[in-house]
């Protein structure tokens, strides 16, 4: 039997901080920045006293900021005490799962107005300590001792994918180039540079220092240069990996019947799904993310839609291979065809299935707990025609978010639509 929400849920406003590295800021400061923008985005405004619960996605403030029990602190910082506040931890899917819990709270009838947040402050630690902290999202008893890192897990999935489908590894580099193209049009992105801009800036730096100026024929040539784009975990290079980031995002959800009180242009959550899985080694497939396919099937069924009804998607491209697999797990392309679609530009803004118009995790940045919530910010902007230079035309009607924890131990999918 199709599972429907007991009552509808709408997004009536969104906000996000700039993503990047902010040594002077605590995560709560970044959330204040996101919340301030959220307040501005709600057309008719809202009284903070109307908020009945605060669901906050955060992976590891314990390790990154030496702070547990963060949700009540953040709630206090935006003046919400004594509202019920809780931190949701499901690795990189923390934000998406927080969103889902808020949707369920409203659908159940227990709450009418709920704030969803996501935040992470990662750049205070050294690169090695960040790698160690992220590794805690894997099985530390049976996966991490093997020597796996997160780039290593996804690299192993890339090896399996490229082998199984005899795929051209250049497809992965194309994903990176495309997401940097989009990120350059997003003022909140950590990397507001196209790969061609990165090349120009490296040439200028070399000239300034009186060093030999590097020669690259084109962007692909740059991406294959081991000096410019070093190997991190074979076959993944630096520009295949999302960065270490600081950032926060916020979304205001209300019950469908209240939506018009807040804004003339709410967006509605019409599909939701979530699934889990065990360690990578125990899955039947090493070249896909089974939990994503399960979560997507639930969301499509709830929405009564098929993959071809989705006008655009924000997917969890923590690594370029993850985007390729996501486009297959979500049913945009058949198994083994995602890499060809990436090569052919079908996931670009003017392609058949635009993916990661925001720049994705790759270019926008990946403050782990914020990513799943920031995806909703892009939904709001694209569906409402507010995405500026990266706005899709015609303005899309239906969008999908796909947020993965770990290597797919968690995946959560939501589908959004506009009705005006």
């Amino acid at each position: 039997m199709t599972k429907k929400l007991s009552r509808g849920v709408a997004v009536v406003g969104v906000g996000m901080s700039k993503f990047g590295a902010f040594p002077e800021k605590h995560s709560r400061d970044l959330f204040v920045e996101a919340y301030q923008e959220l307040k501005q985005s709600v057309q008719n405004g809202f009284d903070p006293k109307e908020i009945e619960a605060f669901y906050m996605g955060n992976f590891s403030s314990d390790h990154f900021e030496n702070q547990a029990h963060l949700a009540p602190i953040v709630a206090s910082w935006v003046g919400l005490s004594p509202v019920a506040s809780m931190r949701i931890e499901d690795a990189c899917a923390s934000g998406g799962v927080a969103l889902r819990q808020a949707v369920l709270a409203i659908a159940s009838g227990q709450c009418d107005v709920v704030l969803v947040g996501g935040l992470e402050k990662m750049t205070d630690l050294s690169a090695a300590r960040v790698t160690d902290a992220l590794a805690l999202a894997a099985d530390t008893m049976f996966e991490v001792p093997a020597g796996f890192t997160f780039p290593g897990f996804y690299a192993s999935m890339a090896t399996a994918y490229l082998d199984q489908y005899h795929a051209d590894p250049d497809a992965l580099l194309k994903v990176g180039i495309k997401n940097h193209e989009n990120g350059a049009l997003n003022e909140k992105a950590q990397f507001g540079q196209r790969i061609s801009d990165v090349m120009a800036s490296k040439k200028a730096k070399a000239a300034q220092k009186g060093l030999p100026i590097p020669e690259w024929a084109d962007e692909m040539d740059f991406m294959k240069d081991p000096k410019a784009n070093p190997m991190i975990a074979w076959p993944l290079r630096l520009f295949d990996c999302s960065p270490v980031s600081d950032g926060a995002a916020a979304v205001l959800l209300v019950s469908e019947e209240l939506a018009q009180k807040y804004t003339d242009h709410p967006i509605y959550i019409i599909g939701a799904g979530q699934a889990s899985d065990g360690a990578l080694a125990e899955r039947d497939s090493l070249s896909s993310v089974p939990s994503a396919a399960h979560a997507a099937a639930q969301a499509y069924e709830m929405a009564g839609l098929t993959p071809d009804d989705i006008d655009f998607a924000e997917v969890h491209d923590c690594f370029t291979i993850a985007e390729v697999m996501a486009t297959e797990d979500l049913g945009f392309f058949p198994r083994g065809e995602g890499w060809k679609a990436a090569m052919a530009g079908e996931t670009a803004r003017d392609g058949k299935h635009p993916v990661n118009t925001s720049g994705g995790l790759k270019a926008k940045g990946h403050p782990v707990g914020a990513s799943g919530v920031a995806q909703v910010v892009e939904m709001w902007k694209q569906l409402n025609g507010l995405a500026g230079g990266r706005q899709l035309t015609p303005r899309p009607t239906v969008g999908l978010t796909h947020n993965v924890g770990g290597t797919g131990q968690t995946c959560v999918v939501h589908i959004f639509e506009r009705r005006s």
């Binding site: 001792p145 020597g147 690299a155 074979w234 080694a281």
Partner: protein, 138 residues
């Protein structure tokens, strides 16, 4: 044969004795590594401990140039990378492990499907050496 114990730490106790253990569901025959009491296929809680031959094939792999702290301490870095992969044991299930004894100069030459066999590597400081499962070309 190591003493029958389906709890997680028994796996490493067995590794310290150079034995690779797992479990088989007495009801449906599903084989797991590491061992577990409850079968993920048929949900039975009737499992027995088994010992693997230690032979298998390489299911997938990567070569890591930016290691985590534990592997940095073991001497690995961008100039001295290491291989880690997933091995499909001949009894069926797969497990993550370091793959040693390979030429890593061109990872493209490492082949999925190559036969491997169990070995053990030691890591950690002198006073806290620990044995970790690894595989090498068979």
């Amino acid at each position: 044969m190591a003493e029958c114990n389906l709890e997680s730490k028994a796996f490493y106790n067995a590794i310290h004795q150079d034995v690779l253990i797992g479990s088989r569901c007495k009801d449906c025959g599903h084989v797991s590594i590491p061992q577990r009491l409850i079968c993920r296929v048929c949900h039975s809680d009737q499992a027995e401990q088994i010992e693997f031959s230690g032979f298998g094939t390489l299911a997938t792999f990567t070569v890591i140039y930016v290691p985590p702290t534990e592997m940095v301490e073991a001497g690995y870095n961008a100039k001295n990378p290491y291989c880690v992969g997933i091995v499909a044991l001949e009894e069926g299930p797969r497990i993550s492990a370091q793959i040693v004894g390979l030429d890593l100069a061109d990872p493209g030459k490492i082949k999925i499907g190559m036969p491997v066999r169990k070995t053990v590597v030691e890591r950690g400081p002198e006073d806290k050496r620990k044995k970790v499962l690894a595989f090498e070309p068979a």
